[in-house]
């Protein structure tokens, strides 16, 4: 089925109305409720949104007002977005794990009038800051559990709002359609706050036209149709979820499913088997790690079978996927592997039906990338930004490589300017940063080009390579290029390293602080009968340091072969005694390291890396999930790595 006329259906509410007519009985949304998948058709969804929009109007929501949705991916929250858009109000999704004062900034800055909260947890957070938000007049909650004793008059249950909306609709039966008709493509569709690796978050205003143009472009690029299925599990506050799940399902008419909870994600994935899947590298990494850990426990024959066919898949799988010529014997062996290993494995992971998969946000380890592609899964890389309505570059089928993020997407112009910064221009380019003209002016040029803030280069085949954030690219004291992210990504490709922070700008050499992966290293230690009581103790073990040193030696050997990077070989390192956490302000909510915050917090350790110390005493404050705080203290050993030979030597000796 071709796409609808997007000039006529130029807003999401109009597209919803179109879908209710054109494919009213096809599934629009699925949700697992009490263990059973429930399906909502497009016509049911349209009726729900209609009633909800009337309910919001009844609560006093006006065109141009902002509403906020806070919670995990739930159909009711998506319907709230749709209902707000139908009235010409602008939804502002907020990360569900933000703490109250992070929330306050956004709700205050966007002058949010109504908050739609998933459950008691979110309601409590909003109530705790309600005094400081004079414009907020209503809170709507979806799940009533634990809220029965709340007596605040401005607190409404979703069902109540819906019921009032239905009554309102009966009296004002023209109201909803008039509101939808009044919407224009140039209206604000959604406002997403960028997580802000530096400073306060900025509200990126995207229009219906932005989202629809880019969404439709990507649908045509990958030939998506109403028959596809997606699992909407990434944070609703992230523009990617809004565009790929909500936006594209409205344009192409496919069905989006919401997982039961974040813990059941992998189970839900397996039950649903989405055809179109979007995940940060971390998810694929987790899958691969869990497969490999469980294979370790398998019998000898199974292990042999697994590794034999996996090696074969790595040899020919990608060539078969790309439609290149492969010998008959290899093809037969691959087909046999599909029956014995690849098929069951994909089924186990919920990837059997996956036609197109994207990974973006961070660099993905080549081994991980190749593993999934070798199994016959069309996993590709993309590069994008909130400011671009997601897509800037995409990897076309047949031109997929682990080291690039793809070519400029159709309709996107790309250039690299002085200093290595990547810039783009497209129909998806955001309107403005809300109430922040200075930031808008410094990011978006008058003729529509946007600074990405990322350093990269375009190679001869037109593929874009991203090295690092442009502002993070520095120089060593010797004047050689120092790209910390580039080094960190190489390290993070080792499955037992979860996070790494490289330092070296203006210094004599590059050094690194490592966060080990608790699961992988815990398993590793268990297999070697190494006893440990805590993450802190595990990370300080000499055996762990030895393993890390061997990884670094391997990496240095690789770096030595790259002329631009040879000078950035890691000379000294340490393993951090605690995980870097968003709750402690060390990472963003999208799990990116806040470099400056880490540098300040761990300044004594960085000092130790450069003053030759073999061990540094350190106290760090940690915040637990429930908000309590504690201090982690102890000595953090620092080891040397020999760059020249790659062999490791303990600093003290």
């Amino acid at each position: 089925m071709p796409l609808p006329d997007l000039d006529r259906h130029d807003t999401f509410p109009k597209l919803l109305r179109h879908n209710a007519g054109a494919r009213g009985n096809r599934p629009a949304m699925r949700e697992k409720n009490l263990g059973i998948w429930q399906t909502f058709t497009w016509s049911e969804q349209a009726a729900e949104v209609r009633a909800l929009a009337c309910g919001f109007a009844n609560l006093g929501l006006k065109r141009g007002d902002h509403i906020s949705v806070i919670g995990e991916n739930r159909p009711r929250l998506y319907w709230s977005i749709a209902a707000a858009q139908a009235l010409g109000a602008i939804p502002v999704p907020v990360y569900q794990d933000s703490v109250a004062n992070e929330m306050q900034f956004i709700l205050e800055h966007a002058s949010v009038k109504i908050v739609i909260a998933e459950n008691q947890e979110q309601v409590d957070k909003v109530l705790s800051i309600k005094d400081r938000l004079p414009e907020l007049h209503t809170i709507v909650y979806c799940d009533p559990r634990g809220l029965r004793d709340y007596t605040e008059a401005f607190l409404h249950h979703y069902d109540g709002v819906l019921a009032k909306g239905r009554d309102y609709d009966k009296v004002h039966d023209k109201f909803f359609d008039e509101q939808v008709d009044a919407g224009k493509g140039s209206d604000h569709a959604i406002m997403c706050y960028t997580s802000g690796t530096t400073g306060q978050p900025k509200g990126v205003v995207l229009t219906h036209r932005n989202c629809i143009k880019i969404g439709a472009m990507a649908i045509e690029f990958d030939k998506l149709s109403e028959k596809d299925d997606v699992l909407a599990y990434l944070p609703m506050a992230w523009v990617g979820d809004n565009l790929l799940s909500y936006g594209q399902s409205h344009i192409a008419g496919f069905c989006m499913a919401c997982p039961e909870s974040s813990e059941t994600l992998l189970i839900d994935l397996r039950e649903l088997g989405p055809t179109y899947f979007f995940a940060p590298p971390r998810i694929f990494e987790t899958m691969l790690t869990s497969v490999m850990i469980r294979m370790e426990d398998a019998g000898r024959f199974k292990k042999w079978l697994f590794h034999t066919f996996l090696d074969h898949a790595k040899k020919v799988g990608e060539r078969i996927l790309d439609g290149k010529s492969v010998g008959l014997v290899d093809r037969i062996k691959y087909a046999l592997g599909e029956i014995c290993i690849y098929g069951p494995l994909k089924n186990m992971l919920g990837l059997s039906r996956m036609r197109i998969g994207y990974t973006a946000g961070e660099a993905i380890g080549p081994e991980i990338f190749v593993f999934f592609r070798a199994l016959g899964i069309n996993l590709k890389q993309a590069y994008g930004q909130t400011e671009a309505s997601v897509f800037v570059t995409l990897q076309p089928d047949g031109e997929v490589r682990p080291d690039t993020v793809g070519k400029a997407a159709p309709g996107v112009e790309l250039k690299v300017v002085e200093g290595g910064e990547v810039m783009y221009r497209s129909e998806g380019v955001f309107l403005e940063y809300y109430k922040n003209p200075d930031a808008t002016a410094s990011t978006k040029t008058p003729d529509g080009w946007v600074h990405t803030g990322d350093a990269g280069f375009i190679d001869d085949s037109g593929h874009l390579h991203i090295i690092d954030r442009a502002k993070d690219v520095g120089k060593l004291a010797s004047g050689d290029l120092f790209a910390p992210k580039y080094l960190e990504n190489k390290l993070k490709f080792f499955p037992n390293i979860r996070e790494a922070v490289a330092v070296g700008d203006g210094r004599d050499f590059a050094a690194v602080m490592i966060n080990i992966d608790a699961d992988a290293m815990g398993n590793w230690a268990e297999r070697r009968n190494i006893a440990y009581a805590s993450y802190q103790e595990l990370s300080a073990l000499p055996a762990v340091y030895e393993l890390m040193a061997s990884h670094l030696a391997e990496m240095n050997a690789g770096l030595a072969k790259e002329p631009q990077m040879a000078a950035s070989q890691i000379r000294r390192f340490l393993v951090l005694p605690k995980m870097l956490e968003a709750d402690d302000g060390e990472m963003t909510r999208t799990q990116k390291v806040r470099r400056s915050a880490v540098a300040t917090k761990y300044a004594p350790l960085i000092e130790g890396l450069y003053n030759g110390a073999t061990s540094v005493y350190m106290e760090v404050e940690v915040t637990f999930e429930d908000g309590r705080r504690d201090i982690v203290k102890g000595n953090v050993p620092i080891w040397d790595v020999d760059a020249a030979s790659g062999a490791m030597a303990r600093a003290a000796e």
Binding site: L34, G35, I36, R145, G146, R148, E260, S261, E263, T264, I267, D626
Partner: protein, 259 residues
């Protein structure tokens, strides 16, 4: 709430002997509808024996138990269960090889009416019953937040979660009186907090009357409306947490008296 409510269960002058050993001597107390009643005491005080008497597992030689207005001398666990008494055990008693969902479903067995024949071939009442009971079981699973382990065999779960599954099974029976035998034994602080929250929620949302045995005094004082203290099979004190805490006899039993 507890002050005005009617009495659900009364225990009068219970004495339980195992041969020459007296486990309980002349113990009397009551449990009011809708309250959380704690039974505390040092090791060997007879707490578990008391629960076992209430749910009919032990038969006291002397004394009477009145439940829902009916006085009885002896009752089998089966009868107790069918009259709305559910319990969990100090040492987890789950079907280790079965999934969480199946274990929770066993809590519904007494509410099923279909015949063995119908169940074996899954037709007639068996089918509609299965659907209705599964819905109830899922409600409990959702309530206790164990959705992610629904299909996991119980034997593979960590201890704290097994305890929660056991609570789920007891709840699935929709009991009027829930007996919890050391629901937090062996748990870490976080697990204890979770469990406390669930116990309070069960009490508040379903109105279930709860009698619990617990060692952690902090937990007992926070959770319970009234506390009965046993020592060497005898009742030492009975009252609100504050009253019990300041009772000299209790302090002596717990902290050791100077003889």
């Amino acid at each position: 709430m507890a002050e005005t409510a009617e009495t659900l269960l009364t225990v009068e002058n219970i004495t339980l002997r195992f041969g020459g050993v007296k486990a309980l001597t002349d113990v009397s107390f009551d449990i009011r509808k809708g309250e959380i009643r704690a039974i505390i005491g040092p090791n060997g005080a007879g707490k578990s024996s008391m629960l076992n008497c209430i749910n009919g597992f032990y038969h006291p030689q002397e004394g009477r138990i009145t439940y829902k207005g009916q006085t009885r001398k002896q009752m089998r666990p089966y009868e107790a269960a069918s009259q709305g008494i559910a319990r969990t055990f100090q040492n987890i008693a789950l079907f280790r090889g079965m999934s969480v969902l199946d274990n929770v479903m066993t809590g519904r067995v007494l509410k099923m009416n279909s015949s063995l024949f119908e169940q074996a071939f899954f037709f007639g009442r068996a089918r509609s019953e299965e659907i209705a009971h599964r819905a109830k079981a899922e409600e409990v699973i959702d309530f206790l937040e164990i959705n992610a382990i629904r299909k996991t065999p119980v034997g593979r779960l960590p201890y704290g979660l097994q305890k929660r599954v056991e609570l789920a099974r007891a709840l699935a029976a929709e009991p009027d009186l829930l007996l919890l035998d050391e629901p937090m034994a062996g748990m870490n602080v976080e697990e204890k907090e979770d469990m406390s929250r669930f116990i309070l929620n069960v009490n508040a949302e379903f109105g279930t009357t709860i009698a619990l045995i617990e060692h952690d005094m902090g937990v007992v004082m926070d959770l319970s409306d009234r506390v009965v203290v046993l020592n060497y099979g005898e009742k030492l004190a009975d009252g609100t947490p504050d009253e019990v805490r300041s009772d000299q006899a209790v302090i002596d039993a717990y902290l050791g008296a100077s003889h």
